[in-house]
């Protein structure tokens, strides 16, 4: 019986495969990309487009062209990742993949915005940067020029030819955001309404864009730990863990067992923290502000636990390359058990007015996401599991002790806001059970790798590209690191779950009430720092 790996390699023999972390890597020409991707999707079940990333090889003589576009495809059944590298000269034009995966269009727009690679006229609007900007900021020879006054374009929809004049007259255009009390995000949603019903919508992002990826190129690998915690401040530890794991895996550092356990505990605590934030936002959108304060109380309990351990309330900055900075203080484990007990009782308080309540059910049984839509748009995390797709990186590809602890993955039935609420509630309970299991069997020993005890030791990252991902509270959070062997990364790309999860929003709210849109938006849990980077 030949394995999937061998079968794939025999099929695409002419391209030449070589191994990388959990799959294979190959190259092809720019004109072949669409055909290659179609074969992958239709014949080999690569139904998931993880990420598209672009790299500028400015000043490197050995590369074939100036730019490189890197696709990550995923086969969900076999959990097989395929990385496709395409080298292109400066003025090459690509074929867009948005006919195969809907999520491709926003990723390609970002690449055009950042690197100036053309993907066809549809995707040539700026995404994260303002329209007035000159040049493409992630190019290595980019020189910033002072921006003129940034203008915000008025709402504009293309004319719908299927409507007659009378129908067109009753439609009105409004703005939702960028500063809206319920969206609590810097996202601008433009709506075309017919009475109270949303007929068409589009969104604009980039109001919180801080140039994370450009900034990361000027930092060394250690400094990016501090930077990564600023991506999603509600679950800050997860991003720094994803970054540290990425660097450690590419360098081959084996961290001690006790450090693994401490990292696991803090990941799950961060997950609870982010889920509580999301549940609170859902409550506000649904008109129940009392529950919002219950959620905030739960987060306050976690902040105290973080503060006792690390000295910070929001971002527990204890990750270092090769381990963790501190050991657990004396008495911390007892405090943590106490806090978890309080959170469990807080969950019952949230359960009481919400679960099975007629008002909350009516309010939330809206805006369903079908599983095939979710996969098409590259959605991960509780939103995908709310639609009933069983994909959780903690189960599929367990790291640290996730294969030894017992936990279950809650799956929704209808893919509605209510399912997402239930999935999040159940995930908090499962996280609590994981933390208790890990703390009960906490390994003893060192917390730092022997060679990295001196802080900020120089790392030897091999030349090449590395992609590591992690199941964060919003979905798959991944870092693609392109290294040139120096102490600073050549290029860092964040595969941020919020960026992918937002793309389905216009589909979700089509022909829905305006109030439903707010409930649906809060249930997606979009974090602005992660979305705009």
């Amino acid at each position: 019986m030949e394995t999937f790996d061998q079968k794939l390699k025999a099929e695409f023999e002419e391209y030449g495969f070589h191994e990388f972390q959990e799959g294979a890597e190959t190259r092809c020409q720019a004109f072949e990309v669409l055909g290659f991707a179609r074969r992958l999707k239709e014949e080999h079940n690569f139904i998931f487009l993880l990420d598209i990333c672009s790299v500028d090889h400015y000043g490197k003589t050995d590369s074939g062209g100036r730019f490189e576009v890197i696709y990550h495809f995923l086969n969900l059944e076999e959990f097989y990742k395929l990385r496709l590298r395409v080298t292109v000269p400066e003025d090459c034009k690509f074929v867009s993949l948005n006919t195969l995966w809907s999520s491709a269009s926003m990723l390609e727009r970002e690449i055009h915005d950042m690197h100036g690679i053309h993907f066809g006229a549809v995707n040539e609007r700026r995404l994260l940067n303002p329209d007035e900007m000159l040049g493409h900021p992630l190019r290595k020879d980019f020189k910033p020029t002072p921006l003129p006054r940034i203008s915000i374009n008025p709402v504009e929809f293309p004319v719908d030819a299927s409507l007659d004049d009378d129908q067109r007259c009753v439609r009105s255009w409004i703005n939702l955001g960028p500063h809206h009390p319920v969206l609590n995000n810097n996202v601008r949603v433009m709506l075309e309404l017919e009475g109270e019903f949303i007929r068409r919508s589009q969104f604009e992002i980039g109001f919180y864009h801080r140039g994370w990826e450009k900034q990361a190129e000027s930092f060394n690998y250690h400094q990016i730990i501090a930077l990564s915690e600023r991506l999603n401040h509600h679950g800050a530890f997860q991003a720094s863990l994803a970054w540290c794991r990425g660097v450690e895996e590419s360098t081959g550092i084996q961290i001690p067992e006790r450090a693994m356990a401490i990292r696991m505990v803090f990941t799950e605590l961060s997950r609870i923290q982010d889920h509580l934030e999301c549940l609170g936002n859902c409550a506000v959108a649904g008109g129940n502000e009392a529950v919002y304060f219950l959620c905030q109380q739960g987060r306050e309990i976690l902040y105290e636990i973080f503060e006792k351990m690390s000295g910070y309330r929001l971002c527990p900055a204890i990750n270092r390359m090769g381990g963790v900075k501190f050991d657990l203080p004396i008495g911390w484990i007892t405090d943590c058990f106490g806090a978890l007990k309080q959170i469990e009782s807080q969950l019952q308080n949230i359960d009481l007015p919400f679960t099975k309540s007629a008002i909350w059910l009516d309010r939330n049984k809206v805006c369903d996401i079908q599983p095939h839509e979710a996969l098409e748009y590259g959605i991960t995390g509780p939103v995908l599991r709310g639609s009933g797709v069983n994909y959780d990186l903690r189960k599929v590809k367990p790291f640290y002790f996730y294969d030894e602890v017992e936990f279950e993955i809650p799956l929704g039935v209808n893919g509605q806001s209510y399912d997402r609420y239930l999935v999040r509630m159940e995930e908090i309970r499962q996280s609590i059970s994981i933390i208790i299991q890990v703390l009960d069997n906490l390994p003893t020993g060192a917390i730092m790798h022997e060679d990295y005890k001196r802080p900020f030791t120089k790392l030897n990252i091999p030349i090449g590209g590395f992609y590591t991902s992690l199941e964060s509270s919003n979905g798959e959070l991944g870092f693609y690191i392109e290294s040139d062997g120096s102490e600073r990364p050549w290029r860092v790309k964040v595969r941020s779950p919020s960026f992918h999860n937002l793309q389905i929003f216009p589909i979700m709210i089509k022909d829905r009430l305006l109030d439903d849109a707010l409930v649906a938006f809060s249930s997606l849990n979009i974090c602005p720092g992660e979305l705009d980077r």
């Binding site: 000295g311 099975k356 007629a358």
Partner: protein, 151 residues
Amino acid sequence: MILRNEYYKAKSLTLGIARSFYSMSLGVIKRMYGFEKILTINYPKEMYQYGARLNGLPQMILDQKGKSLCTSCGKCADICPTGCLEIKGVEAKEPEVFNLDAGKCIFCSYCVEICEKDALEMGREHILASHVEESLILNLSELKSRGRKRL
């Protein structure tokens, strides 16, 4: 684990009203008779009690004569993610210029960890709001006056 079907069925109206009355009266009784502690604090009068590991603004460690232990190697300025430290001076001597911009500092403690001479430590001061931006930039003499003498 697929979520149980009964989660998706609404409670009956009578049960719902009864449950909400129950939870409301329970909350009132708990608060009135003090079964549940009050979660807020009376902020400016009482302060929150932080743990031993609280990280505030970095402070200098001085020797017995009141001189800084810093040898102007500049490693802390290199590792600082926000670039809030500015150090000028001759190697192996006390620096001539040592500016710490408290407006930029994120209390990440990288400078403390990398210092081989233990010339810096994390203080506990973290409420640093000011009306004047210039007053947030602390120079060498100000840092020395805030510093702690080595035991």
